[in-house]
């Protein structure tokens, strides 16, 4: 599903990503760990078509990143620590807007369904600036799933979430996992990442230094390795 070859991103002389090769087959849930500045956000930004690589090829769902960006965008759902919502519009208006951007059929029906899925239907007509962070993230999840994307990119989505919202997010991820969607989760939370993922990777200084199937790895060994990499 996601195919990365020789990916390179430099800022001046500083390499953010170096010669990255990565294959994520359809339906795989990958947890990506790494210290700050390792290049995790850069990788997600490139995969989400927001950033151009300096070199290398990226293909998602068979579409080339440079030439078929809009086709890739239709396949992607991205959740970050920013909710990307319009604070003066209501929850429903936000979803209706994004729905129209993705060209979704029977939009109102879909919007209502997603709102109730995340438990926000009673706030449908409230403006977003009234929502707590947890509520905004829930709405962001609804927005992301509106166009039913087969690929999900999550960049530290648990940041700033209260326990209730975090649980909601974990449940949503579990559901998405069972629906065989391709998921890339960037997180600092080792136990949470390993609990849900099929595959665990550690990125350091722009390179993948660890890549294993979760059911094959030794938890303590992995934790030790992770600690040593993060600790520097």
């Amino acid at each position: 599903m996601i195919s990365v070859r020789g990916l390179k991103k430099v800022y001046g002389a500083i390499p953010a990503l170096e010669n990255l090769d990565l294959e994520i087959p359809t339906g795989q849930f990958v947890a990506l760990f790494g210290p700050n500045g390792a290049g995790k956000t850069t990788l997600v930004n490139i995969l989400s078509t927001l950033l151009l690589p300096t070199d290398g090829t990226v293909a998602i769902g068979g579409f080339d990143l440079k030439r078929q960006a809009n086709d890739i965008r239709k396949l992607l759902g991205v959740i970050s620590h920013y909710p990307w919502l319009y604070s003066r519009l209501s929850a429903k208006e936000n979803l209706m807007f994004y729905g129209r951007m993705y060209g979704i059929g029977s939009l109102e029906e879909q919007v209502d369904r997603r709102l109730s899925d995340v438990g926000m239907d009673s706030w449908a007509d409230e403006t977003v600036d009234r929502f707590s962070r947890g509520m905004q993230q829930r709405l962001a999840i609804a927005r992301t799933l509106l166009h039913d994307p087969p690929v999900l990119l999550l960049d530290e989505p648990y940041t700033g979430l209260d326990r209730h919202a975090a649980k909601m997010l974990t449940n949503s991820l579990a559901a998405l996992r069972s629906e065989k969607r391709t998921i890339l989760l960037v997180t600092h939370d080792l136990s949470q990442g390993l609990a849900q993922a099929h595959r665990a990777m550690i990125l350091r200084s722009g390179r993948i230094v660890e890549d294993s199937q979760v059911d094959e790895l030794d938890f303590d060994e992995f934790t030790a390795k992770y600690d040593s990499i993060i600790g520097g």
């Binding site: 800022y11 001046g12 002389a13 500083i14 210290p35 500045g37 390792a38 300096t54 520097g232």
Partner: protein
């Protein structure tokens, strides 16, 4: 040490500096010794050679900013961005010279400091755009972002320049200056023309030298900045 793009100019630059030095010397000699003194305006008219030469460079510089900007957006090669940036900076210097020498020369000719002469006014607007270009660099911290924004301004600004010039000319035609133009001298004698060309040529070489030096300086500065950041990163991981 990786092969930087300075090796080509290792021989180029000193050669240009030598040529440029001779060029400037010749120009100065010609301006003061060879070209005849203008009848009406007197010695003040000698500023004209430097004024016009600077103006030529100012507009050449901004044309090169256009070239560099388009090339940068097309190739995303930082070299083009350094080229555009350097051209703009050096261009600002020469544009400032034009704006300073203009009134100096203009006072005896027009009888006032500033007569809203179309060409000088367009040069003033060019100065503003070129300075805005530098302000973007100052206010944007991300290097790639600054390069992109400057490229956009460079392209819009350069393409707008002919329009601006035309509009100012037209504006002046409907708002004639109340300042009565004193009858200045006639055309240029052949000696004056030759002096002017030598002067323009010398300035052009000077421009090339300055831009090359500036580009190298920029490349080194960026490298130093990056190395400092890399060291900081390696220390913390």
């Amino acid at each position: 040490m990786p092969n930087n793009d300075n090796t080509g100019s290792k021989r180029f630059l000193p050669a240009m500096i030598v040529v440029g030095f001779f060029g400037i010397m010749s120009a100065i000699c010609m301006v003061f010794a060879y070209a005849p003194q203008e009848r009406v305006m007197g010695i003040v008219q000698k500023i004209f050679y430097f004024h016009v030469s600077s103006a030529w460079i100012a507009f050449l510089a901004f044309f090169l900013v256009l070239v560099g900007s388009v090339a940068y957006l097309w190739t995303r090669n930082a070299k083009w961005d350094r080229f555009a940036h350097s051209s703009d900076e050096v261009g600002v210097v020469f544009t400032t010279i034009v704006l300073l020498t203009g009134p100096l020369w203009g006072k005896p000719v027009w009888g006032g400091w500033w007569a809203w002469d179309p060409r000088l006014t367009t040069t003033l607007i060019l100065w503003l755009i070129a300075v805005a270009y530098l302000l973007i660099r100052a206010f944007v911290d991300d290097r790639d972002q600054a390069a992109r924004y400057c490229a956009v301004l460079g392209i819009i600004g350069a393409l707008d320049l002919p329009i601006i010039h035309y509009s100012v000319e037209w504006w002046r035609s409907i708002h004639p200056s109340p300042i009565v133009l004193k009858k200045g001298g006639g055309g240029l004698t052949p000696e004056m023309l030759k002096t002017l060309f030598v002067s323009m040529g010398a300035f052009t070489i000077l421009f090339v030298v300055l831009v090359t030096v500036r580009m190298n300086l920029q490349a080194m500065r960026e490298k130093a900045h990056d190395l400092r950041r890399l060291i900081g990163q390696r220390r913390s991981t």
